[in-house]
Amino acid sequence: MTGLSAIAAANGWFITVTGLVIVFTGLALLAAFIASLDKLLAFWDRGVAWLQRPRRRGSSGPAPGALAHQGPAPLPRADASARTVFLGGETLEVYQYFQWLTRRQGDVFSLSRLLEQAEKRGIPRPHFHLDELLVLGLIEELPGEECGFYRWTPGISVQPEE
């Protein structure tokens, strides 16, 4: 059997329409979910920040759930007198990844290795953010014989920008 009758006999029209509808529905639902994902995450962050706000006073580190904000990163600002640095958006997220990556190297780490690992893991703009952290004094070079190696500057706390 050939022609339109073969298509009809094999339920071809039904399979085609149903198949296309399922493919479109699947990808459209996924697209809708992705489109709203950043809003959902921002909503989640606000909720977590609200829950943790009273307990965060006096702590030296940032609240993990409240850290990563989406959207364009505002410029970070340093408050030298209080030794507290306020970070926001992508910079804050990258700061956390860098902390996690350097933990594998130990207290003293190499910047080139850190950058290599960051690039391998697809962390956005690692050179730019590393430079930011250096300028803000969050990372310092070791003196003397260990010159060329770096560590996280002790006594500086990082807070998420409001």
């Binding site: 479109f24 639902l29 996924l30 809708a32 950043d38 992508e90 893991r121």
Partner: protein
């Protein structure tokens, strides 16, 4: 003297006929395209050499041929017959793919869905030409421009056609730079090809981690038969994005996918034995496969034009052609054509979105087709 004659009759020189030469020419052609023209060399070189291996005339019954039970090639071919290799390749693809361009502008995913129209149009055409339903579905999936998906579905629905369909799918994927441009020029105006697109929004790491989990659950709830392919694709991507399983991701995107590609390429090539491959049906499959690619390309472009009718944020319709998957070649072709019109217009980043969505779309389409034919 009789022994010498008998020996000669059992050598390749005694057993060869013209069909073997035709297939060897095809194999050498594949190797040439891969090495000299750089058309998908990682696929065409193993497949081309596999064609040579499969078409050395051999004495049947010695347990050498790929279709002879107990032969080495037959054991390796088991992974093709049972659809084991394609999900492993998807694992590697997931571990090497960055979904951020797609996540940054999710509406472009619809182009990946629109391009799957080629699969279903070809399915109808194959039915109309008299192919049985299961074979028609396997031929249609060539339009998904995704070799592993085509092999996976064919191994489930029409295992005897794995050779011709895999060869057709990979041939046309290699020929994307030849097949797509005329259709792109035909269906778009110069003004449309000059459209510049705005940058996608930045995508956070958490979104990249959540996406493979949510994407897997959503797609597989909708088309459960796509689970082996999409499960591995999204799992590979989760390994890449979660940062804590870097060794696994590294293995999946390097050693594992390379090993599977070698075995898949060789066995698919070797499965094209002249007596099995050179049939009228294979020629029909090749023609329909080309039509499928063209229909898929046209579907993506026309849908992009349709989206422009309703959207304020115009998209360059050329990127619709990338919805056929064939990652990343079709996106490169979009960049090439766009660049020809305006050398400062960079479309590659935008084209990668529909390109990757096309991979998901073709896997969902394969799952849907398989569901229809495995239903009692």
């Amino acid at each position: 003297m009789d022994m010498v004659v008998a020996f000669f009759k059992n050598t390749g020189f005694g057993l060869v006929d013209y069909r073997h030469f035709i297939m060897m020419a095809v194999g050498i052609g594949f190797i040439y395209l891969g090495i000299a023209k750089h058309y998908e060399p990682l696929l065409l070189v193993p497949i081309g050499f596999g064609i040579l291996m499969g078409n050395v005339p051999i004495f049947k019954g010695l347990g050498l041929g790929i279709y002879e039970s107990g032969s080495v090639l037959n054991y390796l071919y088991f992974g093709v017959r049972q659809g084991i290799y394609p999900p492993l390749i998807f694992l590697g693809i997931g571990a090497m793919t960055d979904f951020s361009t797609m996540l940054g502008r999710p509406k472009l995913m619809l182009l990946g869905a629109a391009a799957q129209v080629g699969i279903f149009v070809t399915y109808l055409a194959a039915l109309a030409l008299g192919f049985p339903s299961n074979e028609a579905a396997s031929i249609g999936i060539i339009g998904g421009a995704d070799g592993p998906t085509a092999i996976f579905l064919t191994s489930k629905l029409a295992p005897e056609l794995v050779g011709p369909i895999a060869i057709a799918a990979y041939s046309y994927m290699a020929l994307v730079p030849v097949i797509q441009p005329p259709i792109m020029f035909l269906l778009t105006t110069k003004q449309e090809r000059l459209i510049r697109m705005s940058d996608p929004r930045p995508v956070g790491k958490r979104e990249k981690i959540i996406f493979p989990i949510a994407g897997f659950l959503l797609c597989c709830f909708l088309a459960p038969a796509a689970l082996p392919l999409l499960g591995m694709l999204f799992f590979g991507n989760l390994l890449k994005e979660c940062l804590v399983a870097d060794r696994l991701a590294q293995t999946a995107r390097t050693a594992l996918i390379d090993i599977v590609t070698i075995i898949l390429g060789i066995t698919v090539g070797a499965s094209t034995q002249a007596d099995v491959f050179l049939t009228a049906k294979s020629i029909g499959i090749f023609f329909l496969g080309a039509a499928s690619f063209m229909a898929a390309t046209a579907g993506g472009i026309l849908f992009a034009k349709l989206m422009n009718v309703f959207s304020q944020d115009k998209i360059n319709p050329l990127i619709g052609a990338a919805g056929v998957s064939a990652v990343p070649d079709s996106a490169r072709v979009v960049q090439m054509i766009g660049n020809r019109e305006d050398p400062s217009n960079y479309l590659l980043m935008h084209a990668m979105g529909p390109n990757i969505a096309g991979v998901i779309g073709s896997a969902v389409a394969a799952g849907v087709l398989w569901s229809f034919f495995m239903a009692p």
